[in-house]
Symmetry: C2
Subunit: 373 residues, 2 copies
């Protein structure tokens, strides 16, 4: 329990000050364009080439409209001002970090989403999202290459007495070559997110399609499911226990996947990876179940120590990453320790990012070529 | 063009007055429960056993909060009142129609979603949704049966110079029996909706799973894609032309499906169906392409006249439906005319529903057993 609370607090603290690439007083370049994750046809929010975000909210009779992103406002947000046309307008006081950010709008004391933006499940609710184009965004772009599919499955879970949802990425060609079998990565989201996060926010399917098209990886299947079972108080950490989720994952989901998809159904063909809380889950479950997974990856989600691992011969890869604005020294040091102890361990630090999805998109791209070699 | 505008207007008029099962002054039963399509853990909106809906919105400094559902308020909505705890509260003045309804909240003149409800793509935006439990809701319930998958595909479209998205329902067992081939229904959404509607609002995957589990239908594949190509002004009807969508559907999507899924790739194994605007599209495209589809279905989406059809021998089924609060006489009369002309035509009227998703869920359930016999 303690570890989870610590990392959660750590994330919140990091996110609260680090989402600005520059806090500055340079002039704002007037080349704003609609964010790429706006709702269809919506002009706002917009982003400029410097990474500033500009918002417009229609609420003519409101007293106060504050966007939760950006410096300079109440609670670290951007205070919008009502213009003569009755529309509330405002621009962040500085450039945002490249990549994806969650946000919401506080209107007269109530928390709502921006009607212009698409919603993404984070903080245990569907929140507005905005995308600041990254200089390396090409690796997760939708390109004219063969595409894999992301499919929703509903698998039976006796332990929770329901059908649970997971999303399964199958690589291009999966449906055509009916004899080929694939290794599988079980990939977990972070706290407050759910099984939609890695596709919607992470674009993991597009990252895979692009890596496969470039011949950089051997294709594998990815399985993403909800990492909590305490549905009474959804997303609550206080009552979180790993065992019920471990049962769902190892005793229910994995057998279902192995019997319904063309998998390499062995320890050698199975990886577990997760971001933030999903990394903590990966850490615990891989250590508990050394005969189930052979490749482990923690993305902004803690570290492994050599003394935690019972049988070194069963671990084929340990990948540990975080953003440069998180705790890179800790990641580097842990990986050095693992290497010194004889493990195949790899560290990756995402430059100029914090506890956010660009860190995890990049981490996944770095990790994927190392798996199942 | 004219037909589309007429049906759109017709839908709006119908929806504006017909979503109440009873406008009344009976006493309200205090057995409210959270709507089944609330966001995880959210207590409001709620619905009682009579079909009344109750809303709570936190916006302590707001001047005015109006929910777009229910009689008695401005523009036909429910005016909420601020209670002593600063929360805006209100209950519809009457019982709502059974089934799914879109809505939004107007706060100080701005249009937002209810933070308690899940969002569904309708009216060209992600809107709040609420579910009034229907007396026959069992047929679209999540049950302990074998489940098919709904998978997102990205298919190449040269005519629109992009990868377009579709969702494909494959029935239970699709992944196991690697030799079986299935017929396919191309199923279209209505105006303002998109390719997510039939799964999210329609629960078409669960309807299929349940019908298959009961042995009532022969399993088939369902393909759902976005029915418009005029992305400049998304969802705009003024610039709508059927030809670009027909090209995407017939020349690009169908060949992709036939080469990537185990389909019966013949006219006899292919149906087209659609609701509202999707029905108008079905009408036009099936008449234009008699060698592509053999089964036609219009759900609250117009009718066929015998004189429109060039070759009667190519049409295996015409299914036409609507809600009893729409224009059932027109549907019955059209089907009688088709039967008299020697067609295998079937009419279905959904009792006590209007131009809304319960009509279409029920229509799909009635239609499915008639296909590919």
């Amino acid at each position: 329990m303690k570890n989870y609370s610590v990392i959660l607090l750590w994330s919140i603290i990091l996110c609260s000050y680090s989402s600005f690439a520059q806090a500055n007083s340079t002039s704002v370049t007037e080349d704003f364009k609609p964010s790429t994750v706006n709702q269809p046809g919506q002009e706002y929010p917009q982003v400029n080439s410097q990474g500033y975000a500009r918002f417009q909210i229609v609420a003519p009779e409101a007293k106060s409209v504050v966007v939760s992103l950006g410096l300079g406002g109440a609670k670290g947000g951007t205070v919008l001002n009502k213009s003569e046309d009755g529309i509330w307008k405002g621009t962040t006081a500085g450039a945002m970090d490249e990549g994806f950010h969650y946000y919401h709008v506080t209107i007269d004391g109530g928390v709502f989403n921006d009607p212009g933006a698409l919603n993404f499940y984070g903080s245990t609710r569907w929140e507005s999202g905005i995308e600041i184009p990254a200089h390396d965004k090409d690796f997760y772009a939708l390109k004219d290459v063969a595409h894999g599919n992301v499919q929703q499955i509903l698998f039976p879970s006796k332990s929770t007495n329901t059908s649970r949802r997971a999303f399964v990425y199958t690589p291009p060609g999966y449906h055509k070559d009916k004899s080929k079998q694939y290794p599988v990565v079980y990939l977990q989201h972070g706290w407050g997110e759910d099984e939609t996060a890695w596709s919607n926010q992470g674009h993991v399917n597009l990252i895979m399609d692009n890596l496969i098209a470039e011949g950089k990886i051997k294709p594998f299947i990815i399985v993403m499911t909800y990492g909590m079972t305490n549905d009474v108080k959804y997303g609550g950490m206080a009552s979180f226990r790993i065992e019920p989720f471990q049962t769902v994952l190892v005793d229910e989901l994995i057998p279902y996947i192995d019997s319904n998809f063309r998998t390499i159904a062995t320890q050698a063909g199975r990886a577990m990876a997760g971001l933030s809380m999903g990394g903590m889950e990966t850490h615990t479950i891989t250590l508990n179940k050394p005969d189930v997974f052979s490749h482990y990856a923690l993305l902004s989600g803690g570290i492994y120590k050599p003394e935690e691992i019972k049988d070194k011969s069963k671990v084929k890869l340990i990948f540990i990453s975080c953003g440069s604005r998180e705790n890179p020294e800790k990641v580097q040091s842990a990986v050095k320790g693992l290497k010194d102890a004889g493990y195949n361990a790899v560290a990756y630090i995402s430059e100029n990012t914090a506890h956010e999805f660009l860190t995890w998109r990049r981490s996944f791209k770095e990790m994927a070529p190392l798996l199942f070699k």
